[in-house]
Symmetry: C2
DNA sequence: ACCCTAGTAGAGCGATCACTCTAGGATGCA
DNA sequence: TGCATCCTAGAGTGATCGCTCTACTAGGGT
């Protein structure tokens, strides 16, 4: 399952064959259809959900370890950039590639990716809200942060450079600081 | 060619068969390998370059029609959101899906996507620079803007809602305004 | 009339796709 | 020991993949 997520991340949904999945998981082919009677779609759905949840927990861990929101944002973007560099630009967003592939071709998987994105946004928003931002603004800011992360992954992987992700992170930090400034000094 | 771009946008690189390409282009199969001896990779490379150039021109048109940088950003994000809504969330970034698919699997296509992203960033940065931002800052801001657009496409397509793209656009506008404010009142 | 090149046209190639089918262990309960 | 259930195991299915191959047509130069 973890191995399957790696394949999806690297080759995407259409680029990953079920044979490759069974080899990577060191499991027989027949077992796949025992555990996932729905075939490739059901397998992908499970991978999206589980890797989405894992990534949300990673963000929460980073955020909750940081002294404040702005530092958390920097830690996350710089951390993502470092991981990209260390893993030869493979270990990016676990569902980003799949999300774009299935958005207009498989509604069930599209909904699965939407639920994952929604859960990330909610996790970020609730922390921003706890730190003082009002609800709708926290959710909007969280949406932009997730979008910037995804776009950062895309540009950094294409360029094979951590720079775009780091740059996006720096700007996102300023955006977060600006939002908190306005809370403290409304106007 | 335009039809092929549409297929790539909707189904991605791996999800688009060459048979589908020939049907969409209403061209015989043999002709494909006459015009693109390199096969699918060469075809994709041509599609990436041409649709990338077309999209850059679209951005330039929008930017140059707007009274100032901040308005241009809003026009672009809101325009992209509107197009998404009108086209049932199909007509998004012409190369985003392909870029993620090939980033770790085909270095030639990866470089093609990188060139396109670079040309977009350069087009945005040169305009921000003309409007008063210094060089490196203009390029960094342009990088974040492109990342936010790509992320906005991803979230809006997954959610089947223009909202994430519009939200990202609103925040990007603020970021641009902030950058110009700091030029006018340094410190 | 002759050929040469450019481009049209699609049948057919082996490989791989997602998937189905049948058969064989392993475990728990009787 | 007998039996049902859960899971392993992989050969085999038709369909489709990217691609190659040969044959045909159109138009210009000689």
């Amino acid at each position: 399952m973890t191995a399957t997520g790696e394949l999806f991340r690297r080759h995407g949904y259409n680029g990953t064959g079920l044979k490759a999945v069974t080899i990577a998981a060191d499991a027989p082919f027949g077992s796949l259809y025992h555990h996932f009677p729905g075939g490739k779609v059901e397998l992908a759905e499970a991978v999206i959900e589980s890797s989405g949840a894992a990534y949300r927990e990673l963000f929460e861990l980073i955020y909750d370890s940081a002294p404040d929101a702005a530092t958390a944002i920097t830690d996350f973007f710089d951390g993502a950039a470092a991981v990209l560099e260390e893993t030869d630009y493979v270990d990016a967003c676990p569902i980003g590639t799949v999300a774009l592939e299935v958005a207009s071709t498989d509604d069930r998987l599209r909904q699965a990716t939407q639920l994952v994105f929604g859960s990330w946004i909610e996790a970020v928003a609730s922390r921003l809200h706890d730190d003082g931002l009002d609800g709708p603004e926290a959710e909007d800011l969280a949406t932009t942060l997730v979008a910037a992360i995804e776009g950062g992954f895309m540009l950094s992987r294409a360029a094979r450079s951590p720079a775009p992700m780091q740059t996006a992170g720096r700007h996102m930090r300023r955006l977060v600081e600006l939002a908190f400034d306005e809370v403290r000094a409304p106007g």
